[in-house]
Subunit: 373 residues, 2 copies
Amino acid sequence: MLSFAVEKTDSLARLGRLELPHGTVNTPCFMPVGTQGTVKTLTPEEVAEAGAEIIVCNTYHLYLRPGHKRVQAAGGLSKFMGWNRPILTDSGGFQVYSLASMTRVTDEGAQFQSHVDGSRHMFTPELVVGVQEAFGSDIAMCLDECPPYPVSRPVAEAAATRTSLWAERCSAARQPGTNLFAIVQGATYPDLREQSAKTLVALDLPGYAIGGLCLGEPSDVTYDMVGRVAALLPVDRPRYLMGAGYPEDIIAAVRLGVDMFDCVLPTRNGRTGTAFTNAGRVVIRNARYADDAASLDDACDCYACRTFSRAYLRHLFMVGEALGPKLLTLHNVRFFQRLMLGIRTAIELGTFESWSSGFLARYQTNTEPAQPE
Amino acid sequence: MLSFAVEKTDSLARLGRLELPHGTVNTPCFMPVGTQGTVKTLTPEEVAEAGAEIIVCNTYHLYLRPGHKRVQAAGGLSKFMGWNRPILTDSGGFQVYSLASMTRVTDEGAQFQSHVDGSRHMFTPELVVGVQEAFGSDIAMCLDECPPYPVSRPVAEAAATRTSLWAERCSAARQPGTNLFAIVQGATYPDLREQSAKTLVALDLPGYAIGGLCLGEPSDVTYDMVGRVAALLPVDRPRYLMGAGYPEDIIAAVRLGVDMFDCVLPTRNGRTGTAFTNAGRVVIRNARYADDAASLDDACDCYACRTFSRAYLRHLFMVGEALGPKLLTLHNVRFFQRLMLGIRTAIELGTFESWSSGFLARYQTNTEPAQPE
């Protein structure tokens, strides 16, 4: 139900094609996040027009509301949400640790109380695979244990061991045709990362993710871990770095051989008024834009950039109109798709290094800090 | 700068064509409200695709933020907000009375403190005309005094007299080419309404509005006032009933010879989860829709109805996703444009009475109460 082909490489960077039940994904790809079955503020038509070929939805949220059986009865998540392209669902583990309360994790699974109504639930490896199968996800993720940063070695080691145990149970529980990815853990300990990768690779799954990074650790540590893990993953399987969203991080990880990315950055920053542009970040509420007739990003072809001035976008934010967050989200989602298109074209041409340098030089021109996230 | 032609009548109902600087408007028309220079949650492209040919913006809000000089410097309101069709701006009077604080009204004008920052301002008839000219409005409204309902006769009489005085000053202050409409007041007193209409008609303005109705008075009183006033207005000028939004009120007023309507009902109700449909109102949060695979309105051709089930729309509202209010707004705006298209077609065919009966019989099938507004 999945096929992946690396079509070209430029040093370690890979140009690939990932065939999934709901369509084809060109990699390296960026997956906008549609937590609750919607990429916040956008219609699925707008997400597709922005160039996204796959999105990420959230098992924890959709299991609680509207419930996986309801989604299944509606014909699966793609049909339910009007997105007729691939969907990757995460396992929900991350949200159990970050959003739910009274969480108790044992080898059996993760017990938690819903952040919505306090109801009690337990995510086992078997349940989260079944839930994602009910969604009809193109890619399902194994339940993992993701410790925060920083974390002690014993805690990191226990989490990585449990993650491997759970991956084995997820693998055993899946239906034929379920595209299950395992998640490499091990925090910032090189030997734990390498051990985790080796154990999971032995399961011979159709794809692998690197989890537990981009949690606040220094970038050089992130890149060190990504590089070590990527080197151990099978070359013929897609590699997914979870939660990496800054353009500089995406470029660095592509350089290390990563194929897939997701992050709330474009959508969350869009809603709070920060735009990613060819010339760096723009905080649209800044007074300097009050009479600025220019578009948000002169290199962008999105509807917001084709239609509106910075002055108007700023006005929308200043008066609290919903169209403001929506237009900046639309732009940011398009920005990340254009970034990935630039990356893919550069790998195709064998010019990834020089393209990256040029992109980052322009992008780092404008030093406005992002809004707090 | 304005031409209006009644092309056909069916009893008192009129089919018309209103030519304005930014385009043509087929009447009877419904104008979605874009208070702060945006029809809430929608792009101007979506508003146009829904069939709207003219929208209403708000002088009070746009005068305060971003300011009329800033809008003028940006090339006018149409250009600023990316809506290249006609705009009618109200005078701001209604908001001064309902939103601002410390309002003091004299014959000179209305003093008020901004609801945004408490700053002090004064709207005179001359200022509000100048502000609307700075916006480049296709139709500008005279400053009026709009008393609440119910109101005593002396207060109603004083407000109507002042409104006439201000209309004369607005008329004298306008630039050549400004399409200024006067507003008939007089509350629910037939003789005051008739006196107000006659005085304003003597100013020979390009159009007339009926204000101070749809404020909670019984429907038969509304229709009685509208009928009396419409009978006194020149047949060759457009007639605009301000604030009427319920389909039954629009139909009743068209029957009395009204050409133009505006109301926040489709947008506000859309945001709070109530949809207007061919079979009546639908309160989408209702549990009965949790597994409903049908579209919101089987007679509707909007993007929301073409793409999503009631179950999905309900999910969006239950989890607080912005796409929900946006999709219901989109549908409601389209619903009102389809209503007006139905009305115009029926007048064209000389079947307005039978069409209205059929529409209302279907529309009143479903008795779900609207959400509180």
